[in-house]
Symmetry: C2
DNA sequence: CTGAAAGCGCTAACAC
DNA sequence: GTGTTAGCGCTTTCAG
């Protein structure tokens, strides 16, 4: 069972060690280990045996330098605390799963300076691709992405001028669509609740699209409430109470994410409000969590995992040598009315 | 403002390009760019100017090969869909933030074979450290981790025989403690709800510790229910209904995670059960979400972020040249009684 | 303070 | 099928 392999070596093993142990040239060892070119079954076995016996692990650093191929994909996201980004990452990992490619994560904390640093760091590894959240970047960052020859996929947002490929939704359009859905149900006194984050361009665009459509109907947002940090569910409750106490005439609350929306929904349910008769609610993202709530919050699914998957596919295709550049995949988010937005039966 | 930098080059730039552009030797350019050794302010400026002008991005592959230093930290986790792992990752990223180190993520989908592959792949990059979830691995994997000279930190679970360093909690002990807390409140007819996942060793150990303590009190788990896939919150509701319909005498439900626990809590609240008078509930993990629920679910905080942080610190310290090996950090999880476990006022 | 030479461990491109 | 020869782009080391 146990071959009691030779004493663990001080010096990391190299191809040369395998070559010597197997009596096969380094080059052929390399071929065997990479499954490249034709090698006779006999030598192949000799090499594989020797490699396993020694516990050889190839050095990809050297391999990458020699071949100028790096099977790393840089994924640059603002945060890991907001579940939407791990979801994107999961999509990336899923699409990369069958390939040789590996994701490397960089977190920017919504800071353009940090993004610049992370991007620079990532590019210095000459990855097979860069997947980066958002379409707004510092001029420096854009410059780097333009200058590099690695494929760049900007994700989540398509409203703007991508450097190369984009996969995402139009947040402006999403805001408009939600406003239309709300107006259609006859709501008129609308409050907005969101995050206090000047650099969240996607939320901003949604809000812009939203107010734009309201304006066309001669309406404007009646009251607003913002938060930062803390448990989103809890904040949702608190903000909802605050805004309703302040503006009791409100008949609809539009939340910039589902978690605060869910908090609001729980609060309103407890207060015994007639929903959506007296008060309608909607969130944004379509998170799985909503499935388990007492009532289904209206929302708009943004398919984060699909976005990650598609972005990774673009990178994988190009890493595989396929030509490309400037791909554009716009995902159409759909409104889910749930139990908190539909007042009129269809 | 804009220097209109020279035409973006076809061939990626090298040190040599910067050297030629600045009239400084490659070696000195390298020194400047890495902030190593003494360089006169004059040449330093010349170099920095040329580099920026050209838009030079160093090639870490080559650097790593030459210096045999790789500022990557491998983080190997079973999944990204369960928020606990992104949380660990966030802790790692946080601790690494000030350093030169970068996390690289590998996902195993709870499969030992996949773990082996990912580990091999990661080790072939000769990272500065490996942070890997769990303490149970295939013999092959353990072998690789033993053989390598990169620091290995096994995280989340300390019950077992670590290869090198460990940071985590004792799940067996966690199970026992929860059982004690439950018994202390006088509950006797206890049901267990968990995930259908034979390879989730941590859940298994918790369950073992739990039943062990019940056994000492002459009790055993009255009924059980398992799920896999889907929205945990929703599953929590469904399972709770199922187990209570089947075993109406149950007076306590122990959930293997907070999400299903929260689902159960919502269900029970809606049913109007007297909680915790008639029925007590407890989850596991201490997720932030619980803060916003109508009632606070009893749970046990596992401090995932702290675990990630500490693991990353160990790696960073050793990458910085500090001696080490075999570090062990056991985090003591604390029971939070919340509103669903305390029957007797203190 | 600065430079020249010699690799790091592997693979591309040819020979045989 | 298999081996040989040059590097990949950087840093280490050692001279000046």
């Amino acid at each position: 069972m146990n071959d009691t392999p030779t004493i663990p070596p001080r010096r990391p093993l190299t191809l040369r060690d395998v070559s010597e142990a197997s009596g096969v040239s380094e080059m052929t060892v390399s071929r065997v280990l990479r499954n490249r070119g034709d090698v006779s079954a006999a030598t192949r076995d000799k090499v594989l045996d020797a490699a396993k016996q020694l516990g050889y692990v190839p050095n990809k650093i050297a391999g990458a330098l020699a071949s100028s191929r790096v099977n790393l994909v840089a994924v640059i996201i603002p945060s890991l605390s907001n579940m939407v980004f791990p979801e994107v990452l999961a999509g990336v990992a899923e699409a990369l799963d069958g390939t040789e490619l590996q994701p490397v994560v960089g977190v920017t904390h919504y800071s353009p300076e940090q993004e610049e640093k992370v991007l620079y760091e990532m590019l210095s590894w000459r990855p097979s691709g860069v997947i980066i959240a958002g379409i707004e970047h510092s001029e420096q960052s854009r410059q780097m992405m333009r200058a590099t020859d690695v494929p760049v996929v900007e994700i989540m947002d398509v409203d703007g001028d991508p450097v190369d490929a984009v996969v995402g939704i139009s947040h402006r359009r999403a805001g408009r669509k939600m406003a239309e859905a709300i107006l259609k149900q006859g709501f008129e006194n609308i409050g907005f609740l969101g995050t206090q984050m000047p650099l969240d361009h996607r939320a901003r665009k949604r809000f812009e699209g939203f107010t734009e459509t309201l304006a066309k109907a001669g309406l404007e947002v009646m009251d607003q409430e913002f938060y930062s940090g803390g448990s989103a569910l809890l904040k949702g409750r608190e903000m909802t109470k605050a805004i309703l106490d302040r503006s009791p005439d409100i008949d609809f609350l539009y939340y910039s994410n589902d978690l605060i929306g869910a908090g609001g929904l729980l609060y309103c349910t407890e207060q015994g409000f007639d929903i959506p008769g007296r008060l309608g609610l909607a969130g944004f993202n379509g998170v799985e969590l909503l499935q388990g709530l007492p009532r289904k919050l209206a929302t708009m699914d943004t398919e984060r995992q699909a976005i990650g998957r598609e972005a990774a596919r673009i990178v994988a295709a190009r890493a595989g040598g396929a030509p490309g550049g400037g791909e554009r995949i716009e995902i159409e988010p759909k409104v889910t009315l749930g139990d908190t937005l539909r007042r009129y039966k269809p």
